[in-house]
Amino acid sequence: MLHLVISRLVSLSMTLLFVSLAIFLILEVLPGDPAAIMLGTAAREDTLAALRQELGLDQPALVRYLDWIGGILHGDLGTSITYKMPVSTLVAERMSVTLPLSLLAILISTALALPLGVAAAARRDGPVDRAVLVFSQMGVAVPNFWIGLLFILFFSTHLGWFPAGGFPGWGAGIGPALQALLLPALALALPQAAVLTRVTRSATLEVVGADFVRTARAKGLDRGATLRRHVVPNALIPVTTILGLQLSFFFGGAILVENVFNLPGLGRLAYQALNQRDLVVIKDIVLIFSGFVIVVNFLVDLGYTILDPRLRNRA
């Protein structure tokens, strides 16, 4: 088990290093002048030169890369050109919106999908199953920003229950902050919940037919106990795979939803940085997103070994 954790940690660090190198190469070394990208084609040569010096672009690539990575290891992400403030402050501020938003969405999604999927499979072709299939079909078909717009139209404009957008900040109290995050989290969660419901349903159906479920019934376990103790723990293994893939989508999906709901999160920061060609910010955000995906995959791998003892002896 320890071997497994260590070997996964090693490969995780290697992947992170490789990703940072790729980001750096694409943004700074490939042909094209970063300063010209930032300032546009109409920029004057002396302005460009000043920017190059400010960004340290006059130094060799290797030195710039090591500076960047070394800074990150010390918590220094550089300074944004457009915001004129440290990227770390900027990111931390935005993270306080995006992280709760993603977590809330994950919570809603799994809390919906797991019980619905299992209930649908427990009574296959029954009324619950049919309703769940319709729900998941719709959820898969409709994109999250469109759901967001419909929510704003109905719950905010029509009923007036929720703010139509914006974020009061955590300083305004937990209540109002959560109220502002709930609709966007729902919009983010529903399509993913639909996919996860389907996966849960088919994984459960597969396990229901397994020989060991028949064994459990032959021991005298009733349907409910068989489902709880034998079916669900086994069905969770494939569900975890999909959930792991989805976690990165939640983070990425925040870009769209934060823009629809006008939330000052990381996704919106990424969008603005792209518009303003703020390469320093873009570079850091891409690395943060990639790092998040890699760490999530690591956690999912560990999750597997908890769920499935057959994987524990492998390294």
Binding site: A218, L221, H230
Partner: protein, 542 residues
């Protein structure tokens, strides 16, 4: 039956199959009784309804199947009138059940101890601490070594035989009146099978359990049955004491089944001394595992200095238990997997040392027939294409290849029109015929049959063996016949090589090997063949 009232009595039971099935009844008008301490074997081929009988007795019939009429009584109480809640009380407590597949019948993510303790839990018997103690006792009772360790293990850490012992411990945990065992030893090696049969028999004697034992194997019947009931297409054709049914069967179907059971006495040997040697294997080696950054190197030698040769028209049997390396040898000889070392020659061709590119045109010279007739044919291709595909890739004109496929189908006992149909339209035995036709289409010198009849019912098995022997005589094929079943090997092999842990421990002419086994392991294998004492003699005497 006089004496005490039976533990289980089934009277005039009929079970209906869903509409569109190939017959209306799974079981028709079946009556059976089992008394305390008695083993009743229900015997039949696949589709005879024997497993349906077992599932009906424990109230776990599939939803589409239902009891139409009749009664099932357990110690006087009517089981068919029970509601689901009452059924849950009966299952596990009054009736224990052991299934066929030890690999899949235990929950892979739950410790063995928890799975056994669950039986007590479901019936609210004993405190958790007492359950844990009782679990270890039960594991010791089924003769598992280190019961405390096994209790903490997960199923994948145990062998097939160990898992089946766990299943038996679980089924007998609450000392039920009736034990239902549905083909409990079919997936096990012969030596393990012999041990598990003995275990069930001992527990029955000690606890006075009534045993309903479902099997397709008359050898197993001879080993364990007090009485036998023979099922054919859902109907009981014969019932009686084991010795009577085995030695003096009344119904023609029983007679036919018994005659199809292969005996350990081989047919007279063929004269092969003047035939040329077609396949030579010398010093073949293959190991698995043993690499990896963090992995402790645990190398398994699947083939270790394996040497043999086969003459034209000869069949060499490669016999051994699972994990002995017999399939690895077969696959290395075909070069489906690459051997680590050794020489393989077909005629004068250095088949084992050809580089991949030069190998391809010569691949036709050695072909394989697989074990699983269901998984080894592409379900999306017509049979004619499956057979012709090989020759076409070797450069034969498609028209001619398809024409030859039709001729081959007739040669293996199927109509030529079968070429236009898909594999799922055929039975297991017919598919195995297709598999043989596919192999023969390449006009091979050597045929490797890897457990080619192991998945088939005995009567079908006998037909396929006959087909292979006939084709061999006609085409002069050399056959490497891989099997775990000594009885099958006796019927078809001129010589037999016994494998254990990657090595050939003994190789001799079949009659010679069975009459005078030299190696201790060969003797052990022969002794474990089920029904040796009671059945083989009886069959021989008829």
């Amino acid at each position: 039956m006089n004496g005490p009232s039976p533990v289980l009595s089934i009277e005039n039971l009929s079970i209906g199959l869903p509409a569109l099935s190939d017959r209306q009844y799974a079981i028709r008008d079946l009556s059976l009784t089992i008394e305390a301490g008695e083993t009743l074997c229900v015997v039949g081929e696949s589709g005879s309804g024997k497993s349906m009988t077992a599932m009906a007795a424990i109230g776990l019939l599939p939803p589409a199947v239902s009891v139409l009429s009749g009664s099932i009584r357990l110690g006087g109480s009517d089981l068919l009138s029970l509601d689901e809640e009452k059924w849950c009380e009966v299952r596990g407590r009054d009736i224990g059940m052991v299934f066929q597949e030890p690999m899949t019948s235990l929950n892979p993510v739950m410790r063995v101890a928890d799975q056994i303790a669950e039986t007590f839990r479901a019936h609210r018997i004993l405190s958790p601490a007492d359950r844990a103690r009782r679990v270890v006792e039960l594991l010791a009772e089924v003769n598992l070594p280190y019961p405390e360790l096994i209790a903490r293990a997960y199923p994948h850490e145990l062998s097939g035989g160990q898992r089946q012992r766990v299943m038996i411990a679980m089924a007998l945990a609450l000392e039920p009146k009736l034990l239902i065992a549905d083909e409990p030893t079919t997936a096990l090696d012969v030596t393990t099978q012999a041990q598990v049969l003995k275990l069930i028999d001992n527990l029955r004697r000690k606890k006075g359990t009534a045993v309903l034992f479902i099997t397709h194997d008359f050898g197993v019947v001879a080993e364990i049955a007090d009485r036998v009931a023979v099922l054919q297409n859902g109907e009981l054709v014969e019932q009686g004491p084991a010795d009577v049914v085995l030695n003096n069967p009344q119904h023609p179907y029983t007679t036919r089944l018994l005659a199809a059971v292969p005996s350990l006495t081989p047919p007279p040997p063929k004269e092969l001394r003047n035939e040329p040697i077609v396949l030579t294997v010398e010093g073949l080696r293959k190991s698995y595992g043993g690499r990896g950054l963090f992995r402790k190197s645990r190398e398994v030698r699947a083939a270790d200095a394996v040497s043999f040769d086969i003459r034209r028209g000869e069949t060499l049997g490669l016999v051994g238990e699972s994990g002995s390396g017999k399939s690895t040898v077969g696959r290395c000889v075909l070069r489906l997997i690459e051997p680590d070392g050794g020489r393989i020659e077909i005629g004068s061709l250095p088949f084992g040392s050809l580089p991949q590119h030069d190998l391809r045109p010569h691949r036709r010279r050695i072909q394989i027939v697989f074990q699983d007739p269901f998984a080894s044919l592409n379900p999306r291709r017509k049979v004619g294409y499956i057979i012709a595909e090989g020759p076409i890739t070797q450069g034969v004109a498609p028209d001619r290849a398809f024409e030859e496929a039709r001729i081959l189908l007739e040669k293996v006992g199927l109509p030529a029109q079968a070429a236009e149909r898909y594999p799922h339209e055929f039975s297991g035995g017919q598919r195995q015929r297709i598999g043989i036709a596919r192999a023969l289409a390449m006009k091979p010198d050597v045929l490797v049959a890897d457990e080619a009849v192991s998945a088939l019912d005995v009567s079908v098995q006998a037909e396929i063996l006959k087909l292979l022997i006939g084709l061999q005589a006609e085409l002069g094929l050399s056959i490497l016949f891989i099997t775990h079943d000594l009885r099958v090997a006796a019927q078809i092999c001129d010589r037999v090589a016994v494998m254990q842990k990657g090595r050939i421990v003994e190789m001799a002419e079949t009659a010679h090997l069975f009459a005078d086994p030299r190696d201790a392991y060969t003797r052990q294998l022969l002794a474990a063949v089920p029904g040796r004492t009671r059945l083989i003699d009886g069959v021989q005497n008829r």
